[in-house]
Amino acid sequence: MIFDISTRIDPKKAKDEQDSHYLLALFLDIAEEMLNSGAETNRVEDSLFRILKSYGYEKVNVFCIPEFVSVSFEDPNGELVTQTRRVYTISNNMNHLEDLNALSRYIVKNQPGVTDIYNRLENMPPTSYSSNMLIMALVYFFASGGFAFFFHGSLLDAFVSGIIGIVIMLIAKFSMLQNMNKLLYTAVSALIACLIAMIISRLGYPGNIDKVMIGNVMLFIPGLALTTSFRDMLCGDIIAGLIRMMESLMIAAAIAVGYAIPIFFLGR
């Protein structure tokens, strides 16, 4: 895959503050980052439409699926503008999504120029705690352990599950695989998590090893993708919903493969 997504278009080259080509490029940056942070396509289409209408553009067309955005309109000078954007990565960053939502509301209200939008996009604050390794390790510990306890595991099960959760977080942090193939990444990390649990069980673990494993499975389950896919389909975006749903079903299958191999070879 060849792609060039890290660069943002420089607003200094724009003809004036209301140059519709450059404005649209910035709006598509907002749309792209919204999709990257895990927004539903319906929300992205809606905010793009409102933004473009607020600038007085005519014949506004917006099409958006999880991997692609296309916009076309006629600006007040009679110029026809069309731009498309391919979106490669989809992750969860709710704080960023909320900021982008606020930015798009601000744009609809005030119709700012190119430099203002560019500066606001560049200076958006990152989530304060997400780069702190210690906090993220604790969070994965409690997410995994909490679900082990939730599914009637003992406190010991929850603790062991939490430790394996930290291992999963380390894999997510340091593996190059995640950016290359999401299915393979999910299958491999599920396999490693299951293997660790099986080894602990073979060393004479007194608790229920299946509760430990369930706590780890919950870290991989694509709940977000499934929820947004149903919401997309209900709002009429059948294609977008189908893409997300197929993706989450494939991830569920990858989890199953990762867990099936060690159980099959090592027995219960």
């Binding site: 997410a143 909490g146 149903f230």
Partner: protein, 154 residues
């Protein structure tokens, strides 16, 4: 109904969902509300499943509906997108346990248990979807009707 067990489950769900809200990189101010919506949907699920004698479909449906309602309420009062709360609210209902057991028994060649757990996984996923869609449609329609009324006024 076993109150003690429900309390333990709710504590587990609260801890796990607070942590998941942080994994989804929520704003620290929203994390607690995500946890509350998850606990509400789980307690609803437990109560309905007690009343209907472990009917997976109905209990997941009503619990997902309750979770959607409370996350839409939070979204309106806190001025944030509803998705933030909704994703966490349905997390305790997601059939992770039965999905795991279905694969576990399928691999260890226990056909009967694999079928039972596989069916329960499919039923609860369907239930969540139906509950979500029912309430979301209602909220969407209400929003649209309000917008049309505003347009008429202007």
């Amino acid at each position: 109904m076993d109150i003690r067990q429900l309390a333990f489950e709710s504590i587990g769900a609260l801890v796990a969902c607070l942590a998941f809200a942080a994994i989804h990189r929520n704003n620290p101010k929203r994390i607690l509300f995500c946890g509350i919506s998850a606990v509400v949907s789980w307690i609803t699920c437990a109560i309905v499943s007690y009343i209907t004698h472990d009917d997976v479909f109905i209990s997941c449906m009503i619990a997902a509906a309750a979770g959607t309602i409370i996350s839409e309420i939070f979204a309106r009062t806190l001025k944030a997108p509803a998705t933030i709360f909704l994703v966490i609210a349905i997390l305790p209902l997601v059939p992770g346990g039965s999905l795991f057991y279905a694969t576990f028994y399928a691999v260890t060649k226990d056909q009967l248990n694999a079928r039972i757990y596989g069916l329960s996984t499919a039923l609860s996923a369907l239930g969540i979807a139906v509950g979500l869609i029912l309430v979301s449609v209602a909220f969407n329609m209400q929003r649209e009707i309000l917008q049309r009324l505003n347009l008429k006024k202007n």
